[in-house]
Symmetry: C3
């Protein structure tokens, strides 16, 4: 018995694993060619959990450890197959305008959030309420923001002494603003391409590739899971590391990653991350990691010794009480992810007016704010005494207030310039020099000090786009008003 | 025997380890609750050397390998106990205004450098002579710097055509300048807080949390060991990695980390660090690492094959002959860490005047400079021929000289603006546009080229805040003088 | 037998390794002293492949796996010796002005590319055709660029109301522009230095140390292998990691690394690199890595399952069809690495005129451009469908076109300023304010958006030196023309 016991158990477990991991015949056919056509994709998938998991085994795990949120295998879904090429790229073909016949199979090029929702419905549901999910419309359907986009990325030609502004190209929209917000991916018929297998026909996708969070997909759905769980690794590890968030949340406008990196949290992460576990579900402070990443505080399921600290959410503002970027002034989080539906007292689709009147009916109330702040404090309390974290969180409100005052002074200067005819609010409040300094005040510098306080990154509070610039920019505005006014 | 031997040895060794590692009954009581209240803190400590070391064992190590500098266990100190919660948080209660009764024990919230000095007295001693230790006073007690602080972080309101400057709030001071320099942590009575254990009373700390290097603690001591050895890991590894220094030494004002990162040293660190040992004492060039970090050159004990290359120091300028940041001009290192006590020929608490006259009696002399430079060269010589490193170090002096000349030209321009009444030195030399460009010249651009030379990061010498800006800024100053003068 | 077998095999293998790895007696003598004089150098070499490889064994490897390109051992070369100190530092002594007598041996201080070419001739050959190899002359021999250098790094003194421009010092040239482009390392006789072995004589090298890619060496050769394979590790791993390229290719002028870091490729690299193999030859997408680094796309030999995807090249533009930095407008890659030999329609040594007329005869033609683009697409296709990568590559051309238009508008504004006498093209088009904004337009902002498109880093397309600045800078130029014109 002595010589059998441990080996036998291992062998049986191994067998069980192998047996439960059946690759579908369709996926096997995909791999037969793609292993030489696109070896990187196949290797990426092989390293992923999808190549090793089937729904049936996944559903046997305790609730807290599950990575899928479906409660039972859907009808017509082979719950004993691992999740391979065909399982994801063949779903909902009738909806997918990018579906095409490919060696006898009907294949979608783009896998969309509703396709992922076959196994991950709760995550899709959470995501669909978020500002990220509506990021395309939140830009496109907001006339003021669209005007800003046109002013920034439209080609400018000089004619006499004024600029002729041409409309931005679709490609440039997709390279700049909509790279993060998401493009509208459409299908423009079929196109023939030379391949290693000879000439073949593929759907011609427009505004593709793109992995923006609010992408509009060829099945008319929204969102992109690959934004954070990239490509064929479907990785939870990558999503939990701050580099993912850093792709869009960078200085000067949203210096989240920059501030994190220079914070004590970021310092410890950079020093010790090789020893941490970024894949465990649930994720345990202290055991799996010793300092938080973006995901820790903003959306991961956290637990300690089997007790839930906070639930998973794919609505990335669900834990936030205040909104500190993207707008002229800070304000409570919007109730809905569709911020383009907000209307403020000036009739603009913004949660605040230029003089800082909140559009309160579109924003969460004080009770909800307090509840979310308390929830955040309970996350901090995994590693900090409650006095420590309570004080740290209280500073955020104070900094918001002060940064807002510094923006208000800039607004007063811009309005003075308008009143004195030095610059004009029409056709755009974004296309002249003093107006541009005003934008820098809130879009770069006020954002920086708010982020720097929220995560304790002192340089972004100070000399690097912080209070230094908040103050010097006012002085630059005043001088420029004087100089332009004297002309 | 065959089947016993190795296991037996392991068991005996394990036992021996366990036996020598006794956790005090007080600490055990702390852990009983805190393992669920703040699991991250307990896990951090468990991973630390403090949870595995007692003084008695530590004192048995050869001198060169010791991590404590006390020579024998102090009276009343249980030298056979590992260093747990109670051992650190219960020291010097009479001094600690943050001491409070907590489940029958008298506990300090903040552990201060004198508390750490029980085991690490030499480090405390070295630290106490440094500019870092006096960083709070070096800012607060220097009227010119205090004026700069007020001008940068005070709220500005516009009144007619001038700014009304409000005094900065305490919270913002602690978020910006004093985040690095350290706040004054005071105790404002007791406060009741709702906790998972019910309502409890805690001392209410003001200007807390903070981990600035010159922090004033509730026991009236100065400094913060956690600045570099963060929280409950007490890690030497984290302190030796450059991310720690990067929390305060970042562009634009002190681009030490930025330059390091783009230097060859930083490149090799980033490529190979996973294979290096950041915890060994002493630290051996070649064996433990192949390229230096900040700590290697500035303060770690280095040895090779048992021979000391350079001694440990927690006075972080002890190896430096020249001071290249924070001041208008470069100058020899100050003799004392209390730079606020310096008085220059203009009566300002600065080691140089605006026209670059050194306050020589407060600065180290030429012999000491040469001795320190030679010591630094001997560190470089672990990995470089002496011609290589000698030339590299000689460049620093040349760059200092040239950068100083470029600042002097900026100063001449500012003085011209003052003389012509375009701007005024009162009430502050920091609050008008040309003055602000002058500040950028020394605080950002001259600092950048000096750091870039010291560590060979060419972009910070060139286009990124380097010579490009040093030159273009002069041109911007001249144009602005002309424009404002013509009004 | 049981107790012998595994140990015996190991011992025999170990012996075999040892036997084939003979260190020359000369190198052993070097090490005898240098292990204590410069322990870091010896340790670095011991960790390198050079300390473990001899030519004879290396030549036994299959072609695809070879790291040397010599076809057989040269006459007079001991092919059974590992590559030690003496093997590299004693080559071509007659050419080396830095050769000196050192304990009975004739030693060169600098190891130059022709020395490395003893084993790596193909790499030297490729390198010698590149712009990098000619980087010194491409700056020095181009009068316009030399004028830019002088304007940026020369000391400026103020005299009345104009600047007196002093010529830059040699040291500062080597710290800034020539830090990357390479200095001219010359020998100024012998100099005596105090060492741990007593007083000794060494050649005195000028403009040394330097590791710029176009360095001129004391044997009159060009280039520096240590730029990317640093010091005595000779590491392929370091060369393949992006930190190496980052030493010179950083924002604001060449934001290659910055864009990479915020791209999806960079995000995956940062998250997963610890699990990848950066040393395998050939390098296999999917198997060795899941996302590319700079080297993957620009110069490494890639293969999959024994099939070559693309050949190795040490001409770093060999795979590029378009040139997106360093010049006023984008343009096809130059045919020769000696760009200083180009002459455009305005007689300047630039591939484009200020009004964007290409010097077509010096640039690769459309067929070569298409062929290179197809080759690049085949690299992308390791991990991406051809529609995905084809669209991504097509965007580069569109962005180049739009960025060029934005530069053209800036050029029109500068020419207007010249025409109206507000600024003057003489003595330099680089020394006045509007001219400086014009430079920023192409050198910083147009470069940024081109890089951001090439590698998908949206912030560098947008708010960070991207379209935001491209647009606002035009407005700043117009305002400044009006203000300076009104004086």
């Amino acid at each position: 018995m002595n010589k059998f016991s441990p080996y036998l158990v291992i062998i049986i477990l191994f067998r069980a694993t192998i047996l439960s991991q059946t690759v579908s015949s369709e996926t096997n056919e995909c791999i037969d060619c793609h292993i030489s056509v696109t070896p990187g994709i196949v290797a990426d998938w092989k390293g992923s959990l999808h190549s090793k998991s089937d729904m049936q085994t996944a559903l046997m795990k305790p609730m807290l450890e599950r990575r899928i949120s479906v409660q039972s295998a859907p009808v017509n879904y082979s719950a004993d197959l691992v999740v391979g090429c065909f399982e994801c790229h063949s779903l909902n073909p009738a909806e997918h305008k990018d579906n095409f016949e490919h060696f006898g199979y009907n294949i979608n090029i783009v896998v969309s959030p509703p396709d992922c929702a076959i196994c991950h419905p709760a995550e899709h549901q959470q995501y669909s309420g978020s500002k990220k999910y509506h990021a395309f419309d939140n830009l496109r359907q907001n006339p003021l923001y669209s005007n800003l986009v046109d002013n920034v990325i439209g080609i400018k030609e000089i004619e006499e002494n004024h600029f002729k502004l041409l409309p931005p190209s679709h490609l440039t929209e997709g390279e700049v603003c909509y790279a993060c917000h998401g493009t509208e991916v459409t299908v423009k018929g079929m196109k023939s391409r030379e391949t290693v297998m000879g000439e073949m026909e593929f759907p011609e996708l427009v505004n593709w590739p793109n992995h923006g969070v609010g992408r509009i997909n060829p099945d008319n759905s929204r969102g992109s899971c690959t934004s954070c769980h990239p490509r064929h690794s479907f990785s939870i590890e990558i999503a939990r590391k701050p580099y993912t968030c850093a792709q869009c949340h960078l200085e000067p406008d949203v210096p989240a990653y920059n501030v994190y990196k220079e914070s004590k949290h970021g310092n410890i992460f950079d020093s010790k991350k090789e020893n941490w576990n970024f894949s465990n579900v649930p994720w345990e402070p202290g055991k799996d990691f010793q300092a938080p990443t973006c995901a820790t505080c903003h959306n991961s399921l956290l637990a300690s010794e089997g007790e839930v600290i906070t639930d998973r959410s794919h609505d990335f503002s669900a834990r936030l009480w205040t909104r500190i970027f993207g707008l002229v002034y800070s304000h409570p989080q919007p109730i809905s992810g569709k911020t383009f539906e907000i209307k403020n007292a000036d009739g603009l689709n913004l949660p605040v007016t230029f003089s800082n009147i909140k559009a309160a009916e579109y924003l969460i109330g004080i009770d909800e704010q307090i509840q979310r702040k308390n929830n955040m404090n309970s996350i901090c309390s995994s590693c900090h005494g409650s006095g420590f974290s309570g004080n740290a969180l209280a500073r955020i409100d104070k900094t918001n207030e002060e940064a807002d005052l510094m923006v208000k002074t800039a607004t007063a200067l811009m309005e003075k310039a308008w009143k004195e005819g030095i610059e004009k609010p029409e056709p755009s409040p974004f296309d002249e020099q003093i107006e541009i300094l005003w934008q820098r005040q809130w879009l770069f510098y006020a954002n920086s000090v708010r982020y720097a306080t929220a995560m304790m990154g002192p340089d972004y509070s100070g000399f690097k786009n912080g209070w230094w610039e908040l103050s010097q920019n006012l002085r630059a505005m005043k001088d420029l008003i004087n100089l332009k006014g004297q002309k």
